[in-house]
C-alpha cells in the first residue's frame, strides 16, 4: 500500500480543548466558551453555571465571603436514597453543604448579600430543603442587619420531595424572609436561571422587587411531565420559558448573561441613596 494512501495521523487535540454547544451543536473553543461565561456566541444558548462561576462573574474580585456552609441536612424522614445524595453532595470538590451558596460580597463596590443556587449539587436539582431554607433566611437576616441588598440566582426544581412536608414549609420560611426585607425597604433582586420551577417560583423567586431572567430559562410552576399531562389545549411555543413569563408580565426583563452584572448595578443605583 503506497504511503500516501495511509490516513495521516490526526493532529493532537488536547483533552477538553473544544466543547459542543447544547443549543446549536456548534463546536466552540473551550477557552473562548469560558471567557463568554458559557454562552454560545452563535445561538446565545446559556449553558448552566456552577455557583462558583456565577459568583466569579458577578462579585468584585475576592469580595465573596461565604457563610452558612456549616449547616447540614438530617434526612428527617429517612427517605429512600436521600442519604446517598447528601453524602455525594458533601463529598463534592466545592466542599459545599447544599445547592444554595450564601455569603457577603460586593458588586461594583456596593456591599450585597448573595444567595446563589447550584443546580448540580448532590444531583438534587437545587431543591429547597431545610438547609436551603435556613441559608436563605440567614442571608435575609444578614441583609436586614447590615442594610445590604439581597440578590438571589434561582435554579431549582422546587421543594425537596425527600424532606416531605418539612420542605414545603421552606416556601413559607423564605417568603417570610422576603416580607421582612420588604418592610425594611431592603432591595431584593431575583435572577431566574434555567430551570426555575415549582416551589421556588411559587415562593421567594417570584417576590423580587425586580426579577430578571436568563434567555430561554424554563420558568414555570409545574414540571414538564405535569404540564404535559395536564394540557387540554394547545401550548404556546414559548410556554414555560423566561420569554413567556416576560410576555405575561411576570418578570421585568430577559437579560443576556454578559449584561446581568450591569443590570444589577443599575438597579442598586436606583434603589440605594448616594450615601450607601
Amino acid at each position: 500500500m503506497p504511503d500516501w494512501f495511509k490516513r495521516s495521523k490526526s493532529p493532537e487535540v488536547p483533552e477538553g480543548a473544544f466543547v459542543k454547544c447544547t443549543g446549536c451543536n456548534a463546536i466552540l473553543v473551550t477557552k473562548d466558551f469560558e471567557r463568554d461565561n458559557k454562552v454560545c456566541p452563535r445561538c446565545a444558548y446559556h449553558h448552566p453555571l456552577s455557583a462558583n462561576e456565577r459568583i466569579a462573574m458577578l462579585a468584585d474580585e475576592d469580595s465573596f465571603v461565604e457563610f452558612g456552609n456549616d449547616i447540614a441536612a438530617i434526612d428527617p424522614l429517612t427517605f429512600p436514597g436521600y442519604a446517598q445524595k447528601l453524602i455525594a453532595g458533601h463529598g463534592e470538590e466545592t466542599g459545599r453543604n447544599d445547592g444554595l451558596v450564601t455569603g457577603r460580597a460586593s458588586i461594583s463596590a456596593r456591599p450585597v448579600v448573595l444567595a446563589i443556587s447550584d443546580f448540580q449539587w448532590g444531583r438534587l436539582a437545587g431543591t429547597m430543603g431545610s438547609v436551603f431554607g435556613e441559608k436563605f433566611a440567614l442571608a435575609a437576616d444578614v441583609a436586614l442587619a447590615e442594610n445590604r441588598p439581597l440578590i438571589t440566582f434561582c435554579a431549582s426544581g422546587g421543594a425537596r420531595m425527600q424532606e416531605g412536608l418539612v420542605s414545603l414549609m421552606q416556601m413559607a420560611k423564605t417568603s417570610h424572609a422576603v416580607a421582612k426585607l420588604r418592610d425594611a425597604n431592603i432591595p431584593y433582586i431575583v435572577v431566574l436561571t434555567h430551570p426555575s420551577t415549582g416551589g421556588a417560583v411559587a415562593s421567594y423567586a417570584s417576590l423580587g422587587d425586580v426579577i430578571f431572567a436568563e434567555p430561554g430559562a424554563t420558568v414555570a410552576l409545574s414540571g414538564e411531565r405535569v404540564a404535559a399531562q395536564a394540557q387540554t389545549q394547545k401550548v404556546p411555543a414559548n410556554y414555560r420559558t423566561a420569554e413567556f413569563a416576560l410576555e405575561h408580565g411576570m418578570i421585568d426583563r430577559v437579560v443576556h448573561r454578559r449584561d446581568i452584572q450591569s443590570y444589577i448595578t443599575r438597579t442598586l443605583l436606583f434603589m440605594q441613596s448616594p450615601s450607601k
Binding site: N69, D70, I71, A72, A73, I74, P76, L77, P80, A83, L86, I87, G89, H90, G91, N97, S130, V131, A137, A159, R160, M161, E163, G164, L165, V166, S167, L168, M169, Q170, M171, A172, K173, S175, H176, A177, A179, R182, D183, G198, G199, V201, A202, S203, Y204, A205, S206, L207, A220, L221, S222, R225, A230, T232, Q233, P236, R240, F244, G249, M250
Partner: protein, 329 residues
C-alpha cells in the same frame, strides 16, 4: 382484611350490612331466633372490625379518606357551623375562582373571614369548581378577603382541601406562581389572627397558598404533602401507581405532621371518617378552632406577628455540623 384499602373495606361493610339486614328481616318475619342471634353476632363483629381497621389505617388509607367522594367540603362545614355566611366573589382583576369560597361568617358567636377550597359533589359542580384546583384569581380573591379582614380586625379561618394549584396554560399566563408566592409573603405578616385547617387534601404549594397561619390544624384523616403521592411515586419509582409507598415514605398523615412539629393539633374524626358524621366532625372542628382563636385574639398584634415570625423562621430540620455526611462519605 389486612390488605384492603379503606375503600375496599367500605365496600365490604356494605355487603356485610346487607347480610345483617337480611338476617334481621328473616328473624322478624319468621321469628327465626337463630337468624336473630346471627344478626346480633355479626353486628358486634362489624363494630370490632371497624375499630380494628381504623386503628391500623395506613398513610394511603388516609389519602383515600381525604379524597373520599363523600368527604365533607368547606361549604358542608359552613352549613353545619355558621349562623350566617355572606359569600363574596372575585379578585377585582380577572375573575372569580369557583375552587375557593370566602366571605363573612358568624361562627360560635364570632365574626370571621372564612375562606376555603371547595371541590364539587357532582360532575357539573366539580367542573365549575375545577376539582378544587385553584387558579391565580382564586389566590388573589383569597388575599383580597384576608386583607379586608385585617383592616376590620377580624380573624381569618381557612379550610384546605385541594389536590394542588391549577397547572394549566391560562394559570401560568396569569401568574399562578406569583399569586401563591404573594399569598405566602402577605399571610406571613397579616395583622390579624389566622388559623388554617387541613380538612381533606393538603396538596403542595396549592394548599400552602392558604395555609401560612398562626395555627395550622389537621383533621384526623386528612393529609398534607409536598407533592401528590402519585407524583412522588412516578419520580421515585418511575411508577405512578405506587402512591401508597410514596405516601408512606413522605409521611403525609396528620399524625406525621404533628410529630414533625409542623402543625399544632389534630382534630378527631368520628370512627369511620368525617363523612359518616359531618355534624360531629364539624363540632369537633369548631371547638378546637375556637380554642385557638381565643388564645390568638388575646394577643396584641405585635406579639402575634412576633410569634408567627419566630415560627416561620424556625421551620426546618437541620444541624450545625456537616460531620455526619463528610465522615459517612
Amino acid at each position: 382484611m389486612e390488605d384492603m384499602t379503606i375503600i375496599e373495606f367500605e365496600t365490604f361493610l356494605v355487603e356485610l350490612d346487607k347480610n345483617i339486614a337480611k338476617l334481621k328481616s328473616l328473624a322478624a318475619r319468621e321469628g327465626d331466633t337463630a337468624a336473630s342471634n346471627e344478626a346480633k353476632q355479626l353486628t358486634k363483629e362489624r363494630a370490632q372490625l371497624v375499630e380494628k381497621f381504623f386503628r391500623k389505617l395506613t398513610a394511603w388509607d388516609k389519602v383515600l379518606l381525604a379524597r373520599h367522594k363523600d368527604r365533607p367540603y368547606t361549604l358542608d362545614y359552613v352549613a353545619a357551623l355558621c349562623d350566617d355566611f355572606l359569600e363574596l366573589h372575585g379578585d377585582r382583576a380577572f375573575g372569580d375562582d369557583g375552587a375557593v369560597v370566602g366571605g363573612f361568617a358568624r361562627m360560635a358567636g364570632r365574626s370571621l373571614m372564612l375562606i376555603g377550597q371547595q371541590k364539587g359533589r357532582d360532575l357539573k359542580e366539580r367542573q365549575r369548581r375545577n376539582f378544587g384546583y385553584m387558579k391565580p384569581e382564586g389566590y388573589r380573591k383569597a388575599l383580597r378577603l384576608m386583607e379586608m379582614a385585617e383592616r376590620f380586625s377580624r380573624p381569618v379561618l381557612t379550610f384546605i382541601d385541594t389536590p394542588g394549584a391549577d397547572p394549566n396554560v391560562p394559570s401560568e399566563q396569569r401568574g399562578i406562581s406569583e399569586a401563591i408566592a404573594r399569598n405566602l409573603r402577605e399571610m406571613s405578616v397579616l395583622k390579624t389572627p389566622t388559623v388554617a385547617v387541613v380538612v381533606g387534601e393538603g396538596g403542595s404549594g396549592g394548599a400552602l397558598g392558604l395555609a401560612v397561619a398562626d395555627r395550622v390544624l389537621m383533621l384526623e384523616h386528612s393529609f398534607y404533602s409536598v407533592i401528590a403521592p402519585e407524583g412522588c411515586a412516578s419520580i421515585l419509582y418511575r411508577d405512578a401507581t405506587r402512591g401508597a409507598d410514596a405516601a408512606k415514605a413522605m409521611r403525609v398523615t396528620a399524625q406525621d405532621a404533628l410529630e414533625l412539629g409542623l402543625i399544632d393539633e389534630i382534630i378527631p374524626e368520628p370512627l369511620g371518617g368525617a363523612h359518616l358524621d359531618i355534624a360531629t366532625t364539624a363540632e369537633n372542628l369548631e371547638q378546637v378552632v375556637s380554642k385557638h382563636l381565643d388564645a390568638l385574639t388575646a394577643l396584641s398584634i405585635d406579639d402575634l406577628l412576633e410569634q408567627r415570625g419566630k415560627r416561620l423562621r424556625a421551620l426546618g430540620k437541620f444541624e450545625i455540623s456537616v460531620e455526619r455526611w463528610r465522615t459517612a462519605g
